[in-house]
Symmetry: C2
Amino acid sequence: MSVSDSPPSSICMFALHHQSSSSQDSGLYGQHMVFPKTPDGRSMEQMMGFVPYSSCVTPSSSEREDFSQFVLPPPASTLHPSGQKRRPSKDSVEYRQRRERNNIAVRKSRDKARRRVQMTQQRALQLQDENQRLQLHIQHLSHEVDSLRHYLSQRHLQAREQDTAGEDVC
Amino acid sequence: MSVSDSPPSSICMFALHHQSSSSQDSGLYGQHMVFPKTPDGRSMEQMMGFVPYSSCVTPSSSEREDFSQFVLPPPASTLHPSGQKRRPSKDSVEYRQRRERNNIAVRKSRDKARRRVQMTQQRALQLQDENQRLQLHIQHLSHEVDSLRHYLSQRHLQAREQDTAGEDVC
DNA sequence: AACCATTGCGCAATGG
DNA sequence: GCCATTGCGCAATGGT
């Protein structure tokens, strides 16, 4: 019904198995997997031959639909047979709540960062304008100083002439 | 051996099954899953009851290790029974190569963005300094103009006094 | 211990 | 088809 009729999306159930070591994790349905990176910073997925899951495409414009019939209440408890201290609370509700809160925090933080960057750019532009204005002001004042100095030197000359003229008179 | 001895990491193999519609994808080992979002922008995973996979933890400082024994060469071909045009090339090699190239491009792009931001910040600071210098310069020039004007007015007074004195003499 | 904030990273969509 | 950019979620980590 509602699931398969939105063309681009498909709902997928899957199981996990792992192959290694500390088998304390119960089966989990993965949403995001992170594999160890090789020291050179390259991914290891290739070595692993893992093929990422990719058919659960985000429906770009999704209508609200009822998926309740698909909701499997998760295992929740996840007993840990070995006495190992259990992973904080990976499975289910608690985990999802933390994830969701973090996603919100991430969005918030990134918006903040974006705004900060924009402000910085804007400030740089403003400062550049201001700078140009100040330089023009300086140019103007410099000319004024030059003019005054020149005028003063003229006055000096005139005064000296007058002095010598006065001496002649007397 | 090499896998399980780095405490925080574990290697996990898993299979996917999906439940819906266009079943043309073969089993995939997912690395990153994106589920459709509800129209309010919130995640739908919760409704689905999916529990994300989370025990494949990134070993913060990984040594180079041999995972070749775990590499399952992926199904690769993925025949499409129905005459549907196949998804560009989801499965395997081709896909992984594109992903890897994109990951590289992403890192590159983000480094570039980071550098750009840093440059902008630095430029803003430089402009701020420059600005302060210019303002001081302006202050200095303004004082100079004031002094010259004051001096000039004094000279005017002196000259006028001398003029009147000269008249007295003659 | 519990939270939020920040950051690096991979995936997918999209732009050029 | 390819690379560049961008939004997004996950997990690690930093700060309280």
